[in-house]
Amino acid sequence: MAAPAEDAAQNNAEVPPDEEGDAFTGVCPKVLGFLEKEGLLPPEAGEDVFPGDLTRQPLELPAGRDIRLQNLARADEGVLLALAYSTQRGFGSTHPFTGEMRMGEVEVFFTPEELGFPVLVGEVTLTECESVNQFTGGKGRPASFTRGYGLVFGESERKAVSMAIVDRALRAGEFDEEERGPAQNAEFVLYHSDNVEASGFVQHIKLPHYVDFQAELALVRALRGKSEKDRNDAASDI
């Protein structure tokens, strides 16, 4: 137990003390930016790409990565966790390295339709994970790593890393990978991961269905009566 403690002490000693002695508050460059500069990682879409809005437009397939990421950010944590885990075990293949895992506060603006101008409604905590995944390349293209991205509400590293893994899994088509598991099927993942939709639809089973059940009851009774009659007819033929 002594050795790791010594290592930690040494590492701490190498960190230059902050001038004020306070937490670091400046701009911290992203680690993946260094790999990007070296050409080892393709850049993400720039800010000139205007994303769609899943809360205003219905999901249509095939969905672009902007829409997929919005869907995943809204997805149920348990669903993402299970899907991410499934790819790690072999239903799909992702076992990423973590490039970035950080947390912070962002301001949220809301534009009421009737007013037409944005209103600051508050700040929320977000957790972000950028993963570095297995490389692609070959057939004349130089080898490079690939990315997965997760951005989730609250302090939730587990959901952020799950989302990054599922995002990468959903890019299978983009990298000509064979689809081997449900986490790589965009339609399956996107349509079933929203917990507000899933929770409502599963629990609507609590509402009365007696009219439809009556219809099924009458049908099953009729089918049973018919098969009994057929059996009797067959017996009397002998």
Partner: protein, 297 residues
Amino acid sequence: MMPQATYETGKRLAGRNAVSYNFAYLDEQTKRMIRRSILKAVAIPGYQAPFGGREMPMPYGWGTGGIQVSAAILGREDILKVIDQGSDDTTNAVSIRAFFARVAGVRTTTATAEADIIQTRHRIPEQPLREGQIMVYQVPIPEPLRRMEPSETETRAMHALEEYGAMHVKLYEDIARHGDIATSFDYPVLVNKRYVMSPSPLPKFDNPKMDQCPALQLFGAGREKRIYAIPPYTSVRSLDFEDYPFTAQHWDKPCAICGATDSYLDEIITDDAGTRMFVCSDTDYCGRRAAEKRSAP
């Protein structure tokens, strides 16, 4: 640079009642978006038009599509009726009726004939609908081919190509296995001789009421974000075969309360010994008939 609210805007807003809702809950831009989808749906009978469904203050699967359609078409003078299972006093119907009474201040009714808009889950009223009325159906699964083909990408292509073989094979397999078409509710229909459509989970007893109906019929699926429609006086045919024609449910006995022989009956267990009683599922129809019988000399 983001535009800022001016002092004048603030004053104008403060003058409004801060706790009141916009008429029928949704904002006007959202209602316009929904109306555009409704118009598209009416123009292509039976086609599932995608719409930007919003989250509503009730769970998905509980009528969020229906209330968005109703909110988009309600006028201040309209009279609204809401039923679930044919009844005006089931929990879903009571909640949705109370919702619109509160957020739109519209008059509500249980009388089918009085209503301008009838929102429903699982039934069409027994009293024939008339011109000018609008039926709004709550739809859980808008895709009639879903049980045969789980992929939305595939089913949209099947509709576009009018490729409905899978549905006919399913009906044929029912006959081969059970000796009859084994679908008793949500029985598929062909609308305007073009689109195969889910009638929502109506018992097939109600299917014939949709054909050449004088009322406009609108279908809203909130979770699946689809709206579809049957304009007045449109052909709606229940799928079948020449040698296995479509038949609706029928009962040997009349309603135990009002004596109707032409209505859809629910089976009610009345004691611990399992004694059954068959009564109308349409409470307005049954109540009216029973009252007429009582007042008759």
